[in-house]
Symmetry: C2
DNA sequence: TTGTATGCGTTATCAA
DNA sequence: TTGATAACGCATACAA
């Protein structure tokens, strides 16, 4: 359990940061005036007053305290972005874009990693965070369960986007299996990453693959868990081929899994793509630089982030909610043809 | 510039979260007693009182408001972990470990991505965050410049670890070039990732490589920037070989760069490792699953995180500062022998 | 052992 | 157009 913060923090040189009362004194006005001016309600004040206040604030390096502000507002200006416990190669790009939007709206982005730490509910850490810091919102990158989302909403904090983002993963899985099917494959498998303990993305994609198979009258896809090391990957592939024969088409959780299987196939003397066809996800540059070049579901970062941007804008920026309703999944993710199917 | 938060947030169902005064009322004590008990100063209260207070708090689902607390304490219970603008494959693992430590100490971890957004100082976003949320500390994963650190410290927030973590990158670069040299290479190059705009890690490693070359009387290393796509990588390698002849030994920023060069060499008809030897960094599983297996500087996450854990413990947990003083770099990073040198 | 009073920095309401 | 003043929720020195 969390203890109270204890021990002495390292020495803290500077004395006391400037407060609004300091600014008020220097500008020769009241604290209320300072607050008003700095919050942009300048129409009601004389040109001169506004200038003096701004000058004083700048001179003192005054910054509004998040604490004081949050206390009186009932909620803070933070927006928590929740990163799921899943492999997330383009994370830094995605964060960069969302961060820019959040700051554009005047909020401060804070990132929370939803590490599934073994036992217990995955995200009571997040729940606690929401309750203590009372953020203006939570942005769900896709790892939150319905229960998680409800708990957070229940404690008075909106979760964005409104819809469960799991549709994205269903779409990705569908793209993969549809492509394999179009290449004539009838024996289908889904390959999870072995070490991911409770991967929310993988589950969604695998079930989409299963749904497609059922709809097309194919046998249910095998589910295998691929470790990213040579022998392990070979073992998994060998077992799969024994069970399903070949050719077999494998939709992989990501490009890493796909590459592991490609090289495992070589090790087993199986031909790619003739005997074993694999399709990854990510369009990671790494998959395109090796040979054979990987067939994969690629995504445009800007496009795939659009639903989040739209949700933010419609929730806080006053834009219409229409953007949120119809995110163009088809543009965001597309099949990148390589040499492994 | 950042605007004021504006627009209506989505509906917020629940009314008002419980405050300490609610708890006090339910327990039949004063607010002060609640505060004392919940802060662990229970020695001075009767068994019965403590029980009642805790029971009431639990019943109401009371959580101390970060805002109120921060306001009166002068600083919040947040600790900001700063992720540098650099490729960071094991990020999620590293975060997980540090997060556990931070929470163990009773603080709340918040992650900040130091995106170098083009123009201007890289991290005035961070500076602003420090000033508004007044965190208990900032954990620097290695991307902060001396000036950044000073600015933060100046505004009253300790930065950990105390020492610049750049020693880690120097050590990594040294491991790489020392290995190449031990293989007989005298023509050395350092390969940056092309797209990284201002990579703090890469700079440190490259300068370590240069220093080694100078110390050993070798020609200064060439510096090349490798894009992760086939033609680009081939072009860079071709130019390098024209300039330095072969065999040439290349210390790469990471495994991705190394792989790009390995396959580029194949495309140019150069032999690996005879003509072109590459050594990566990360020990990324992906490098070990392809063929040829990559030679690389691998790291043990637990070991490489140790300096940060120690710094946290010594700053806030009261443990001795000795741990911080001598982080065992030699254990944390080691050369993983593959087939590319 | 417990309660009272005060202040932290900000915003909002209302009076001037 | 501007300025008092009252919350907001919490922690703590001090009084009881």
């Amino acid at each position: 359990m969390a203890r109270q913060p204890t021990g002495e923090p390292p020495s803290t040189p500077r004395a006391r940061p400037a407060t609004s009362i300091d600014v008020a004194r220097l500008a020769g006005v009241s604290r209320a005036t300072v607050s008003h001016v700095l919050n942009g309600q300048i129409e009601r004040f004389s040109e001169d007053t506004v200038e003096r206040v701004r000058g004083a604030a700048a001179e003192l390096g005054y910054v509004r305290s998040a604490a004081g502000r949050a206390l009186v507002m009932g909620r803070s200006d933070f927006i928590i972005v929740v990163v799921p416990y899943a492999t997330f190669i383009r994370l830094q790009d995605v964060i960069e874009v969302i961060s820019a939007d959040i700051e554009e709206l005047g909020f401060t982005m804070v990132v929370h990693f939803d590490v599934a730490r073994g036992r217990g509910t995955a995200s009571n850490r997040l729940q606690h965070m929401v309750e203590t810091m009372r953020p203006a919102g939570v942005v769900d990158l896709g790892g939150l369960s319905l229960a998680d989302r409800e708990a957070i909403t229940e404690s008075g904090c909106p979760v964005l986007p409104r819809r469960l983002p799991s549709a994205v993963n269903r779409w990705i899985g569908t793209l993969q299996v549809r492509h394999l099917h179009s290449r004539g494959h009838t024996e289908i498998a889904y390959a999870f990453l072995a070490d991911a303990r409770d991967d929310p993305y993988g589950r969604g994609r695998a079930s989409a693959v299963a749904a497609f198979c059922e709809a097309e009258g194919l046998a249910p896809p095998s589910r295998v868990h691929v470790p990213i090391e040579p022998e392990g990957a070979r073992r998994v592939l060998r077992e799969l081929v024994q069970a399903r024969g070949w050719p077999v088409g494998i939709a992989c959780y990501n490009d890493k899994v796909a590459l592991a299987l490609v090289f495992a196939a070589k090790g087993l003397g199986l031909a790619v793509p003739a005997d074993v066809a694999v399709v990854g996800v990510e369009g990671a540059d790494i998959g395109q630089v090796v040979s054979p070049r990987l067939t994969t579901v690629a995504s445009d970062v800007a496009d795939s982030v659009r639903p989040f941007r739209a949700a933010l804008a419609s929730a806080y920026g006053g834009r219409s909610a229409a953007d949120d309703a119809a995110p163009p999944l088809d543009d965001a993710f597309f099949l990148l043809l390589g040499e492994t199917t």
